[in-house]
């Protein structure tokens, strides 16, 4: 019981092949509540693959990813319901406004009050009026809306793949604050980024993929 509350996310001997290439060779790590795993590595080292494996979008050759002490391949629904995923694609619809986008994506998973929506949009520094369609926004503003969805999902585990792409200096700072607040509430995050994360060493765990 002790270990299951301490080590929320555990990866054990992950092996993954993509065609001829072995991307993950027996990777193991564990992550406690309130900590962030920063994944780095050169381009093509398998950062995205690792995150997709952790989100169970990619099947593993061998190895176990466990959440709260149980294998995530057994109870994927329970695992996914505590997970917020943000990949390269922002999953925003260009022909909907920011609010509609959030309502129809985060809203599928939990009831969203207008107050929560406003709070999330304010937290990411969203700066458009309500009638604005997403396709009329800059890439940085779209990224902020996608991050607002991560906030609205209110999940324990964040899996973020290059979340600060297209963000300006202010946006990167905003993301740092958002991540720190999440960790302080006992959340976990696995983030693939080369940006220096403004986190105390006690909260940060580094993983470099070769």
């Amino acid at each position: 019981m002790m270990t299951s509350t301490m080590r929320l996310l555990e990866a054990d001997q992950l092996h993954l092949w993509r065609g001829e290439l072995q991307v993950l060779r027996g990777l193991s790590f564990s992550l406690d509540a309130g900590r962030c795993l920063q994944v780095t590595g050169r381009n093509g080292a398998g950062k995205t693959s690792l995150l997709r494996v952790l989100a169970r979008l990619l099947p593993l050759e061998s190895g176990i990813v466990s959440w709260r002490g149980s294998d995530t391949s057994k109870d994927t629904f329970a695992y996914h319901s505590e997970l917020a995923w943000l990949g390269h694609a922002t999953a925003l619809k260009g022909d909907l406004t920011a609010r509609e986008n959030l309502l129809y994506s985060a809203g599928l998973r939990r009831a969203i009050t207008p107050d929560a929506m406003n709070a999330a949009l304010a937290a990411v520094g969203y700066a458009h009026s309500d009638g604005h369609l997403v396709r009329q926004m800059s890439a940085g503003q779209q990224r902020r809306v996608a991050l607002a969805r991560v906030l609205l999902l209110d999940s324990v585990l964040w899996l973020l793949d290059e979340p600060t792409v297209n963000l300006d200096a202010g946006g990167q700072e905003m993301f740092g604050g958002m991540l720190q607040a999440h960790l302080e509430r006992g959340g976990l995050a696995v983030v693939a980024t080369h940006q220096t994360l403004p986190l105390p060493a006690s909260r940060l765990q580094a993983l470099e993929l070769a």
């Binding site: 329970a78 505590e82 997970l83 999953a91 022909d95 994506s105 599928l108 998973r109 959340g187």
Partner: protein
Amino acid sequence: MSAPGASRVSSWRAGLLLVQRDLRLAMRRPGEWLQPLIFFLVVTTLFPLATDPQMSRLRDMAPAALWVAALLSSLLALELLFREDGQDGSLEQLAVSGLPLAWLLLAKCCVHWLLTGLPLVLVAPLVATALGAPYAAIPGVLGALLVGSVTLSLIGAVGAGLTLGLRRGGVLLALLVLPLAVPVLIFGARATALAIALEPMAAPMYLLAAIAVLSATLAPLAAAAAVRISLE
């Protein structure tokens, strides 16, 4: 961070929201969804022009014209079903949402049918009359197309899921879906022919309905598996 399970949305409501989203998106760009309907109208109006314009001959050909046009126009529309959601990452989000993917895809199929199948059914009386079908045959023609178009949307979803990752998946999609759609074509055209001849059409309709029920239960599960494979 609330406890897991608090303020969670029911699957039913999630499906409704997805339906609402797709309808709203379709309303903002109607051109895409009108294409299959226009295709259906063009093919069925070209048929009488290309043949001997005798009512009796037209009437013999009407079931074939209606059903081939309906099948091809539903194939044309299939590419729209998951393509955009696959490209912009929305399907990925649905796949990790902790909700049953098959259910969410079924909701998407419903919208797809509302936008591409239902319009065909609605214009079918006009088209059938133009092809020489008697007025008394219209309910039968409508019924067969209604059941058939639902089935075609559901079967097509499996193919659309499998060809999701392909850049030019159109031809492959047609090759994958056509063999599965052939029974629908055969029984649908047969039912329509009997309706136009004002004879009892129960037998092919039962078979058509059986295929519809089978695809409504199995196709979403197969489509969900196909989409998961395509997302890898």
